[in-house]
Subunit: 562 residues, 2 copies
Amino acid sequence: MRYARQALRWNGWGSSEVSFDTRGRDREVWEFVAHAVGLDPLPSTPAAPFEKVILPEPRWTPAILAGLIATTSEEQVKTDRYERAFHALGRSYHDMLRLRSGTLRSAPDAVVYPESTDEVLAVLAFCDAHGLAVVPFGGGSSVVGGVEGSDGLEGSRRPGHRGVVTLDTTRMSRLLDVDPVSMTARAQAGIYGPSLEHELGERGFTLGHFPQSFEFSTLGGWIAARGAGQLSNRYGTADKFLVAASVATPTGLWTTRPFPASAAGPNLNHLIAGSEGTLGVITEATVKVHPVPETRKIGAFVLRDFEAGTAAVRALVQADIGAAMIRLSDADETRFFGEFRSALEPHGTASKLAEKALGLAGFGDKCVMMVAFEGEARKVREGFRRALSIATRAGGLFVGESPGRAWWKRRFEMPYLRDPMMDRGVGVDTLETSTTWSNVPRLYRAVQDAIRSATTRDGRRAVVMAHISHSYRDGASLYFTFVFARDLTREVEQWREIKDAASRAISEHGGTISHHHGVGVDHAAWLSAEKGTLGIDVLAAAKDTLDPNHVMNPGKLLPGPR
Amino acid sequence: MRYARQALRWNGWGSSEVSFDTRGRDREVWEFVAHAVGLDPLPSTPAAPFEKVILPEPRWTPAILAGLIATTSEEQVKTDRYERAFHALGRSYHDMLRLRSGTLRSAPDAVVYPESTDEVLAVLAFCDAHGLAVVPFGGGSSVVGGVEGSDGLEGSRRPGHRGVVTLDTTRMSRLLDVDPVSMTARAQAGIYGPSLEHELGERGFTLGHFPQSFEFSTLGGWIAARGAGQLSNRYGTADKFLVAASVATPTGLWTTRPFPASAAGPNLNHLIAGSEGTLGVITEATVKVHPVPETRKIGAFVLRDFEAGTAAVRALVQADIGAAMIRLSDADETRFFGEFRSALEPHGTASKLAEKALGLAGFGDKCVMMVAFEGEARKVREGFRRALSIATRAGGLFVGESPGRAWWKRRFEMPYLRDPMMDRGVGVDTLETSTTWSNVPRLYRAVQDAIRSATTRDGRRAVVMAHISHSYRDGASLYFTFVFARDLTREVEQWREIKDAASRAISEHGGTISHHHGVGVDHAAWLSAEKGTLGIDVLAAAKDTLDPNHVMNPGKLLPGPR
């Protein structure tokens, strides 16, 4: 399954046919949002229509275009406005601001759709020889500027590239091979999530990687950005499930081999995972797969506060009971989504009474924690039983399975809500980090404070909420979502202020600049502090080796033009 | 705890005070060995005594020596014969041949014992400025030439170094910090296994890393060589338990930070693990630790043959039941150690009868599999119950806990047996690899055949045996041990023939050249085929960046002088 590009939103989330379903309660939903961000009435801030969008002049010459076509075919090289606009940016809040503004300062000059590793190699060789930047693009769902169709040299004194070619991998979308004995699968990297899961499922397997972007992101993108799926406790982050890869580089094809473990020098898979298209294009990957789970169970608990909740998550993950997911919302997120759900689906008296009782029992500022198991029925049962005991001992109150069921059903739905918010003067953005358990409370407070003061500047109102969605023996991720009143006179500046404040708080309080979104353009300036000068030098040396003319995804990952 | 260098064998295994204990049954033991390798009587092949050993002339000048002393202190710089001989080679069979021969073609010119990261940096800067090769040395237990005190340029046309300095890390042996919340510990890298476990144990924790070299190897060495311990199924290989490291390089201090997970570009810990001292010296590491296990249980099973055994190991590891160890000996190893044990401790009639019954029941060519659990009593009990059921379903016959108990008691003892074998014209060597489950049978046969035909050349007799000691969802290691009649006229050539034949078989049949011993000198020539040209180029670029003058552990890891 591939998506026709015209069937997807060029300036918003997902399928053009799908919108956020307010279940006929439009008025209640938007009244709730208006109240949350203190805008009454919500302003109307529609996106510029596609016909009016101004794109930069394409820079290709007939010779360049003919050369590109020679690497693939005429049908595989696109230069029309829709393709250029579709591939201009990723899907971050910052990208939305720019896509909806009607003026794109950068866009690829051409988009090429190779259908094989050999064609990718030919495209790279051509672009390398002709000074064209290459931006690898899978689903294009990056929220950190990772697929921005620019040469990343704005404002630099370095001579720029002669043009930007976006290399769309989504025609390389076949599952190539499943090894049911070794439980690995080899696939072309441009395969979308649903298609990969469908094909694996027919053979009895799952990769189990479900990032929120799942429906509109690709295997290669997951690996390039070192992504994490909702069930990463069970199935691992991308760097964990990657077994081997083929990476087309300007210097030739770079491959790693599928060994379960090896002491034959450094493991270069870990240089591929997280390389974000700056070393080459991942064209194939071998990944670990698992039997399709027999069953699934998601229990929900409430905890008195985030500190108690954090301790419960830690107890669960360190007890190593095989949970597929442990997800803790802080009090703000619990309250926001509780109220949002009430607006969407009016709760009965029983539900209201239950809320009240919880309040009286000291859970007025409650945090919801969901714990999921999937796999063999026997193991799910046993794991769940253990979770119940550990969570209860940690002060958790079991509140049933319906919250988890509701979450599961709607887990890919929320990104669709951003577009109508954008239409109404409301901003919504997310960012994430991770740290060791002992540092979680300090980092949580610092980032929360930073986002809160940046979003509420000049008397604006905002909701700042957080959750822990990925946890490890030694620490956890922290994921912040913030909904705020946009400063319509300086939207991009406002975004940058919030982003800078949060990034500084992360950097200064022992967090990584990204747990699973990646670096892209947005975090590049923060990477040096995190990796150190020598760490950056080593990464730059790898790039110099594989991409000596720096045509691969310039401006992403590595800080500044070097 | 540190070992005084004089208290350790310079040309053999471990402590000078400890020898392999034949339990008063010397005659039976050596008759058994003589029979196994077809040498009757066993020849006498004693090692050259230390006093007669010929070392190369040291190349230091008074100025160089004074400079080295200035980086640390007079007391920390050694140039005596014992220190030079002790640090000349590692502890491989090939090393033993050379150490025992009485002539060392290479040895460090000086040995320096820094006591801090700053002192290491000073030593590296001095050596870098003065063209001296630096060989990092922890326990010195490498069995692949990883600590060879040479500049690796024998026979090359490249100008050599002006001398070789071995940097012994074992005075950096403190546990620095334990974070009981995040379950991590930070230690200086020169700490020996027993000392680290003792100090962690006092705080209620264990690293759980028990390679066979455990008593005489260090944390830094484990990480540098990407080692695996006997309980790696539970505690992970070195690259898995490493959280952060400090690496002193000629270019300065390179550090990584302790994030539980991150998408901020490639994970550089995986460039440190497996770097084998070629990029710098690991001076500190943060590692994941676990609570000291409440209890331990090791069950033994017999399987009809290696194929059935392999399937059982796979079923156990893919069922993800939390085993700490799954260890399967092939029929040859089962038989050899069974008979060896009989020689050592005469079995009673009951035991002989049991053997006979097993033979009649179709287990004549039986393979023993041990499955260990440790941790919380409840989980150990539950895991063991599951293992019993899975192993039985896979055709395993449970034979109790006493084989596992016996193995546990003697698990660090076997290396001591090599020295008396060396004294008697008997060779014993090991090598290992790993591959995906579907390729295990093919690789097993190919390597077994290669070793068998190389060890039995010219009518010699040999025992070639194998086990699976590390397993993963997608594959397993294969560890070969071979005991053979030495060709006393050409011992080194014989070793090289066996090694080449086995390495070729591994390389041509889809195995990695090492699962946990590392690359060192012995496997360097096989690395290109495994990593590919671009993979090697990337590693070389990292080296050029951190060690531009190539003073760090020359001749190790990377193939050939470049």
